[in-house]
Each structure stands twice: as C-alpha cells, then as structure tokens.
C-alpha cells in the first residue's frame, strides 16, 4: 500500500505541499502509513490526507496543559516523524495554549487561554501533560496562582475531547509512586464521568498521540479505546507479544547481566526484570527517536520497566520479575495429557491382531472337531 499512490479523486494537495515542504507523494504515503497503523482502510487514509490539507479554519483549537511533569511528552513530540510533527501538528490543530512552546510569556498567555476556551466552548481539544496533585487541595502544582486541579477541571468543562498525554496524565506516573507525597493522580481520576483518552508512556510515543489526533481531526470522534481508555490500535498488544527477543524467551535463553554473552547475542531480558510480558504498548513496532534499527529500550539491551502500564511502571522494582500475562502461541505448551509418542491404532494392525486371535480360536475348534471325529482306538486306563 505504501508504494501505491492513493486515489484521492484529483484533490489538490499543492497547498499542503507548500505548507509542509513535502511532496504530494511523500505526504500521501505518510497518511497511508498512519492509517495502516491505526488499522484503517485506504479510504480513511484519503480522508485523513484531505482533513490535514483542509483549510486552517477547520482545525480544532487545542489547549495544552502541563501539570506535574518533566515535559518528556512534549520533548518526544519535538522529534517526531516526517513530515516534521511540529509542522503537521501546527497545521492540523490550532495550538492556542502550550506552556513550553509558546512565544509569549506571563499572564498575557493565560488570558489568551481563557479567551480561547470561552470562544471555542465545546469545540476544543484539551491535552493534559503531567499528573495532577490533589493532596492539600492541589497546592503542589500551581500555574499563575491557580492549582493544576482547578485549571484542569475548568478546562475540561468546555472540551470536546480530552487527551491525557503521557503516563503522568494517564494514571499519575512517576510522582504517584508510593508513598505518592503529593497525591498525584491521572486526568481521568480527577475528571470522573468525562471521557479521557489515555496515551500513557514515559515518554509516550509521539506517533500514538499523533495518530489519535489525526483520527479525531479526520472523523470528529475518538478512536476505539480499551478498558483503560487507551487507543486500541496502539495499546492492544503486550510488548512481549511483539518483541524481537521473544524467540529467545520461548527457547529459554536469558541474559543474566548487562553485557554477558547472552546479552550480546540478544537473549531475552526477562530475567533482568523486563516488564514486557505485562505491559501493553506498541514500542516494538514503532521504536523511538526515529533512528530505526532497533532503537527502543529493549533494543539497546535494557529491560522494559512498564512505564506506560499502571501498577507496573514505578510500582514494581526495576529488577523484579514480570508476571507473564499471556502466552503465544498457546499451543506451544503440551497439556498434561500430551505424550511424545502417540501412534494410535492402525486398522491393519487391528485386523491382523483380530485375524491372529481368530485363527487361534478357529484352529482350536477345527481340531476339536477333528479330535471328536477320530474313532476311539484306545479306551485308555482311567484308574
């Protein structure tokens, strides 16, 4: 699909070519790739391409909030895929408020934010980055004198959709680790009843965010979500199921310390505490930093610690062993009753066995008959 150009029905992409500085072909290929990774059809890719190329006034406004966080998600966004995310992002959406990237400074920006929220009530996309502390009324995170808790609730009021970007925003992340000194919580936890899309990860993969936003822009609704409100297309499978080291797990070959022989040969990192078997994410297929060639945590030889998985990342010690959630392929395990040699009954053998037994009986009866017919020639002596 990637090689075949999409049939866009003669749609004019010259404007987007200019804006993004990429050729039409590259742009369409990219859209097709994104659609494929979202599990969407070719026609969806066209719809997506058109949505991106559409007029700026169609762009949904975005309010981007930062709570307790390290800007990791934004940092990861800043090094996204071609066409450069910063372009695509700014092209697709109207980023009305972003603390780290904004031009302006100070209270002026805060005013702009409030203005945008009011004007676009019910239309804007709210992106939350970072956790929200709730202990002591949320005093541990204040922006312009207001607590993050208050800001989030206020911004959520008129949001068309809410995206929690990163593990912190999704479920509290690093600061929610025991003893959770500030009572850090995820966005969903402080916004009961509101649908929040979680894009966990520390940092999250920008493509997962981008894909979600693209879906939202294209179809005006959120993508299908799992039970933890994560987009299914990105968080549907365990890292363990997609991991390139999986064959080593299946063969029982484990690295036991960094740099040992097995580690160099790419053995499974389970014994070093890899949480891939209990972490749902698409890191193995997307990788990180746009380098390719196995650039992601497990690729460089350190175990996954479950950064995106609530209850695993920052909760289980790094070198603690993971629970292996599922086993694929399930039939690779013999059942209790499975035995090595099982030849069964061959019909020929059954017939032969029967024939032999039958012959023995038949011969006996024949002999009995013959013996009976032999005239008694000797009465014998019977005491």
């Amino acid at each position: 699909m990637a090689e075949q150009e999409l049939d866009t029905g003669g749609f004019d992409f010259s404007e987007v070519e200019k804006r993004l500085g990429v050729t039409r072909r590259t742009f369409l290929k990219y859209c097709a790739g994104v659609a494929a990774s979202l599990g969407l059809s070719t026609s969806s890719a066209v719809a997506m391409a058109k949505a991106i190329a559409a007029k700026p006034q169609m762009r949904p406004p975005v309010i981007w909030l930062h709570g307790q966080e390290c800007t990791g998600p934004t940092e990861s966004l800043l090094r996204s895929e071609q066409p450069s995310l910063e372009h695509l992002l700014l092209d697709m959406i109207s980023l009305d408020y972003h603390q780290t990237l904004d031009t302006g400074a100070g209270h002026k920006v805060e005013e702009l934010k409030k203005k945008s929220m009011k004007e676009n009530h019910g239309k804007y996309l709210l992106v939350v980055e970072g956790a929200i502390p709730v202990k002591d009324d949320g005093v541990y995170c204040k922006i312009a004198g207001e607590t993050m808790l208050h800001i989030t609730k206020e911004a959520a009021e008129g949001a068309a959709a809410i995206v929690a970007f990163g593990s912190c925003a999704s479920w509290g992340g690093v600061q929610s680790a025991s003893p959770n000194p500030t009572g850090a919580k995820g966005t969903q936890a402080v916004l009961p009843g509101k649908p929040v899309v979680n894009i966990p990860g520390c940092p999250p993969n920008p493509a997962n965010f981008l894909g979600t936003v693209l879906y939202f822009v294209t179809f005006g609704k959120l993508p299908p979500l799992d039970q933890q409100n994560r987009p299914k297309w990105a968080y549907g499978r365990l890292i363990h199921e997609n991991c390139y080291r999986r064959p080593h797990f299946d063969a029982g070959r484990f690295a036991t310390e960094f740099g040992d022989e097995g580690h160099k040969l790419g053995y499974c990192l389970y014994k070093l505490g890899c949480k891939g078997p209990e972490t749902y994410n698409n890191c193995p297929s997307l990788e990180f930093n746009n380098v390719g060639g196995g650039v992601w945590p497990i690729g460089v030889g350190h175990p996954c610690f479950g950064c995106s998985e609530e209850g695993i990342g920052f909760n289980k010690p790094m070198f603690a062993l993971a629970n292996v959630e599922t086993h694929t392929p399930p039939n690779s395990f013999p059942t209790i009753e499975d035995r090595q040699q099982d030849t069964g009954i061959s019909p020929t053998a059954a017939a032969l066995g029967g024939a032999a037994a039958g012959a023995a009986i038949g011969a006996s009866l024949m002999a009995a008959k013959k013996v009976g017919n032999t005239p008694e020639s000797d009465s014998g002596s019977d005491g």
Binding site: P247, F249, D250, A251, G252, R253, F254, C268, Y270, K271, P277, P317, F319, A320, L321, N323, V324, H327, P330, S332, F333, P334, T335, I336, E337, D338, R339, Q340, Q341, D382, G383
Partner: protein, 329 residues
C-alpha cells in the same frame, strides 16, 4: 498313588504355596519405606512461579547434550510434548475453560514440570535387574549406568511418574532420565554447582537445595497468607543468587513429594490440586517396599528355594529309583 491322591496332592501343594504366600503377605509389611536422607539434594518446583519460558528445558538439553524434539515443519523451537529419550524435563500446561487466569482451577491455567522426582524409595532402582539404576548414597540422586543396562525397561513400568525413557528411535538406544546434572562427565553437583534447570530458571520456580531445606521452604510458602509479599529466592536455596518479591498465591496445602510413595527429593507445590496436574494416585507406602517385601519373604538368601530344591530332588530321585515308573529312559 491313586488319582484321588494325586488330585489331593496337587491341590495340597497349591494350598501349601498359598500358605507360603499368605505368610509372605504378612511379612511383606516387614520392609518399610526407605528412610529420607535429609542431606539429599533435590529441587522444589513452585508451579505458581513458573512463567512457562522453558529455560529449564533448553538449559537441560544444553547441559545434557540432547537434541530438540522437532515435530512440525516449522523447526522453530523444541516441540517436546513429554519426557522422552531426547527430553529430561518438560513444562506442561493445565488448562480449564477459558484458561484466562493463571493458577486458577476453573477457567484458568497452570504450568507443571515433568522430570525425575528422585524418589526416596524409587521403584526403578528396586526393579532394575542389573543395578543400572542406583541411589547415590551422598546425594540421593538416582543415577543410571548405561554400561550395565540391558534395556529391559522394567524401570519404566516401575516408575510411578513414567520418568525413565528409552530411545526407541536409535539402533543402540539407552534409558534417559534426569540425574540432577551429576552424571559422569557433567558432575555439576559434585563440583558444587546446582542443576542446570535451577540455574536457568528466571523466577526461582525450580529451586535447588537439600531436601530438608526445600521442604522447610515449601512448608513456609504453603503456610503464607495469600496476598502477602514474599521474597522468593532463586537458584540454590543454600546460597541464592538473587531474590524477587511477589505476592503470595493461594497455595494448596499439599507438598507433593513430602510423603507420596515414600517421598521424593524433587518436590512440587502449586495452587492447583495435583491430580489435575497429572500426578499419579499414590499413597504413602512405596510400591518398591511392597514388592521387595514379597520378594524377600519368598527368596531371602535363597533359603526357601534351596530347601525346596533339596526336597524336590529327594522326591524325584526316590520316585525315579523306586518304581521306575517315573524313569524317562
């Protein structure tokens, strides 16, 4: 001698044999199970810790220089389904219903290891005519000597766990069974190492140690409160190479191998009842002790056969000599 007398005699002989065997059935009790050797080395397999990675299987094949079992055309991995001449240990799965939850009997699944249990009172050792199978006095390991073995496979019939396996597919096959990595040329235990499977196990599901230590550990675990955090040792229980913390599962209060058929040096604990995990229906009394009880009553020091032979010789000679009727020539 009249025929009536002959009939009487025949039945009388039978009756005498009956009495003899009856007597043996009493004295059969005389041979109790062999004593547990506390210093014997063994392993504890904790089914709840097993993640089914089969590292033990792979390591075992490496240590014992055995080839993988390939059945499909994939040839992607070892497809051993059970113990065989190529497989000394194997991880099997118990599945029920939807098989969603680990270590649940209903709608769950659990792993179970099959390998030699290293019985305290082993049937295979008792049954082997040529002493090819022996209990190592120091370690309690049941070893196999292919130079003595004649391949009668009585050990296979005598093992309640169907452990010894013959290489049927080889021209010059032999029996294979786990010897705790201490056979000639490997001798890991003698060198102070642990078994390959225990070393490879990433979770400590297969734990090496002395029977005494392991039994204590097993008792400790089964007594724990489900949900509490327990620090599980890995490797060799006497000097664990590492630990890992994990909530305690709902163990069945049953240590397989503590008492079964005289006990085993390889013990299992689990949260699934052992009959579901394919363990055989064994009582505390070992079959070996019963078999040997009968055998020894009838044949101890060949006294009974010797007396019988003397008596028979006398009778036969008298019969041949006296009336010539019995003479053959």
């Amino acid at each position: 001698m009249k025929r009536r007398e002959f009939l009487k005699g025949a039945l009388g002989t039978s009756a005498a044999t009956v009495c003899g065997v009856m007597a043996s059935s009493k004295t059969a009790e005389a041979r109790p199970n062999l004593e547990v050797n506390d210093n014997a080395v063994g392993m504890l397999y904790d089914s709840t810790l097993c993640v089914g990675c089969k590292a033990c299987v792979a390591k075992c094949k490496e240590v014992n220089d055995m080839s993988p079992v390939i059945e499909s055309k994939l040839e992607a991995w070892d497809e051993a389904r059970d113990l065989s001449g190529d497989t000394l240990n194997v991880i099997k799965v118990y599945k029920n219903g939807t098989a969603k939850t680990k270590d649940a009997e209903t709608d769950g699944f659990a792993f179970e290891k099959r390998s030699c249990m290293h019985c305290v009172d082993p049937g295979c050792v008792s049954a082997c005519p040529v002493t090819a199978l022996e209990i190592q006095q120091k370690t309690g390991i049941i070893t196999y000597n292919p130079d003595a073995c004649i391949g009668c496979r009585t050990c296979m019939t005598a093992c309640p766990y169907n452990v010894p396996q013959f290489e049927y597919d080889k021209t010059f096959g032999q029996i294979h069974k786990c010897q705790m990595c201490n056979q000639k040329g490997v001798e890991r235990i003698d060198k102070g190492q642990m078994t390959g499977c225990a070393e490879a196990c990433p979770t400590g599901a297969t734990l090496f140690g002395t029977r005494k230590q392991l039994l204590e550990e097993a008792k400790r675990r089964t007594a724990l409160k489900p949900g509490d955090i327990y620090n599980y040792p890995m490797g060799d229980l006497s000097k664990p190479d590492s630990y890992h913390e994990k909530p305690v599962p709902n163990y069945k209060d049953h240590i397989w191998g503590e008492k079964e058929a005289g006990g085993t040096n390889v013990m299992h604990i689990s949260s699934i009842s052992f009959d579901k995990l394919g363990m055989p229906p064994l009582e505390e009394r070992s079959y070996a002790s019963m078999s040997e009880g009968v055998q020894h009553t009838l044949y101890s020091y060949l006294a009974l056969p010797a007396v019988a032979l003397a008596g028979l010789s006398f009778v036969v000679k008298r019969n041949i000599d006296s009336d010539g009727e019995g003479g053959d020539s």
